[in-house]
């Protein structure tokens, strides 16, 4: 247990000044700007927005700078900031079918309506370090452009969700549509059992590394779900907020999001015929690994609903949802380095006493040998 301590003010003040100097680095090197972080370390910004659970690009960039690039620390800063602001309301659910798509791929259909576009991706790069980036060299070549297809309409290409294609044959389960208002983790503490909307909110703000490992575990056989990437898409969607005083939804602007539709083979059960089932991932920014991992874990957590056997950690809702939040996790792990002197003194006394009793109990010969 942590017991409050006092004192150390001067040392703490000096440590923070030293931190500020260390953060700045060599003063002969130009200071990094928020716009540089926001514009050039975009995927770090996306992760901080997703797991900080706050869409604000400049703010996430500031947090990354202040945290010296420690993304979990930056996420912590963003979460703390959001508690200072009033909540204006809940947005209307975004419509990903109307996304201005910057990337859209499928591993299940090579010829999808609307086609597949790779967009800005690391996929198919050779993962060789590029020395030309080290020297502040020439600007990159202007990317090629191609004319839009005729059905692009008013600027939005017709790109139906891949799950709608399978839906036409009735071979994939429909998305649940109870019409219920979702519970909100930021307004009420997590309780079990959690329904799927609450689980998805938890996973959407959950740690990418944790979800990646859990998703990976399902692939390796710990609750195997036979996944295919039905579709991953990334781009901008419009956000609207219903404003009471106006009586209609006000368009707020656009946010970048990534969506993953995982399609899973399913043998069927007594009630349900063989069909494909689904896992869903959704995250702020271009957060593909996160969205894919989330979709795998979402599907694994649905085991009971689909009549599957519980056999692995990724299916354990209480385990997964209670440990996914990296701000909570880092708080509890890192608090161990704060002074625990009183606690430890008590333990020390206890061990000394036990040791003495242990020694007393030893046979005489052993004690002599030890001496």
């Amino acid at each position: 247990m942590y017991v409050a301590v006092k004192g150390g003010e001067t040392a703490i003040r000096n440590a923070h000044a030293l931190l500020a100097e260390t953060r700045r680095g060599d003063p002969a090197v130009p200071e990094i700007g928020i716009d540089q972080i926001a514009g050039q370390l975009t995927l770090a910004v996306d992760r901080v927005m997703s797991e900080g659970s706050l869409y604000d690009r400049p703010l996430a960039a500031l947090a990354i700078k202040q945290a010296r690039g420690d993304l979990i620390e930056a996420i912590f800063l963003v979460r703390a900031f959001r508690t200072t602001l009033p909540r204006f309301g809940y947005c209307l659910p975004v419509d990903t079918a109307r996304m201005r798509v910057e990337r859209r791929i499928s591993a299940t259909y090579k010829d999808m309506p609307g086609g597949q576009v790779l967009g800005p991706t690391f996929d198919y790069t050779h993962r060789l370090l590029d020395p030309s980036l080290a020297g502040g060299g020439a600007a990159p070549a202007e990317p090629a452009r191609a004319p839009l297809p005729d059905d692009a309409g008013a600027g939005i290409a017709a790109m139906p969700r891949v799950t709608d294609i399978l839906d036409g044959e009735g071979l994939i389960e429909p998305a649940p549509a109870s019409g219920e208002d979702p519970r909100d983790l930021t307004r009420e503490p997590l309780s079990f059992p959690a329904d799927r909307p609450l689980r998805l909110q938890n996973l959407a703000r959950g740690d990418e590394g944790f979800l990646l490992a859990l998703g990976y575990s399902t692939q390796r056989g710990y609750a195997r779900t036979h996944p295919f990437v039905g579709e991953v898409r990334f781009g901008e969607v419009e956000v609207e907020l219903f404003v009471e005083e106006l009586g209609f939804a006000v368009p707020l602007g656009a946010v970048s999001v990534t969506e993953c539709q995982m399609v899973n083979q399913f043998k069927g059960s007594a009630e349900v015929p063989p069909q494909f089932t689904r896992g869903y991932g959704f995250a702020f920014g271009q957060s593909e690994r996160k969205a894919m991992s989330m979709a795998l874990v979402d599907r694994a957590l649905r085991f009971a609903e689909l009549g599957e056997e519980k056999s692995a950690p990724a299916q354990d809702e209480e385990f997964v949802l209670s440990h996914s939040d990296n701000v909570q996790a880092t708080g509890f792990v890192e608090h161990l380095k704060l002074p625990h002197y009183v606690d430890f003194q008590a333990e020390l006394e206890l061990v000394r006493r036990m040791r003495a009793e242990h020694g007393d109990a030893l046979p005489q010969t052993t004690q002599e040998a030890a001496e």
Partner: protein, 155 residues
């Protein structure tokens, strides 16, 4: 402060479209648009620009039940132009200057006599947005991929 009572649906859709443009306009563009209407009558800040949060929602599978994803920062403002209608703005981000300018333009737009001029003032913003979207889409379209399935040998 409802100003929508009795407003026909068509008007509301037009106002939403105008607000969508305001939401994507830069601070400079909004400032320039307001400048066109100067000198303005006195403006009363019914709600000084204020930063807050809106919870963004998604749908399971893209089209199923709603769930909460995470919040976004939003700035809102409300103004009344003396002798005229009330203007309201809600914009993503934290920019009180943008929010106030957008609220003023919303108020001006509701004055039937000025609506055309506001639309004209925003025409440049619309053109920029369309042009930028087109460039982005053409670059994306150039990454359209056609995979071919290789025929495996007799096995």
């Amino acid at each position: 402060m409802s100003v929508e009572d009795g407003a026909p649906q068509g008007d509301q859709a037009l106002r939403q479209a105008m607000m969508a443009t305001l939401a994507r306009a830069t601070a400079e563009e909004l400032k320039a648009a307001v400048e066109r209407f100067k000198p303005l009558p006195p403006i009363h800040d019914l709600r000084p620009a204020e930063v807050g949060l809106a919870m963004v929602r998604g749908r399971i599978g893209g089209d199923g039940d709603a769930f909460n994803v995470g919040e976004a920062t939003v700035t809102r403002a409300a103004v009344r132009i003396e002798g005229g209608p009330t203007g309201v703005s809600y914009l993503l981000g934290r920019d009180p200057v943008r929010a106030r300018a957008a609220a003023i333009l919303d108020a001006l737009w509701q004055d039937a006599a000025l609506r055309g001029a506001v639309e004209e003032a925003l025409a440049g913003v619309r053109r920029r947005l369309v042009a930028e979207a087109l460039v982005a889409q053409e670059k994306t379209q150039a990454t359209k991929v056609n995979f071919f399935t290789m025929v495996r040998g007799e096995d």
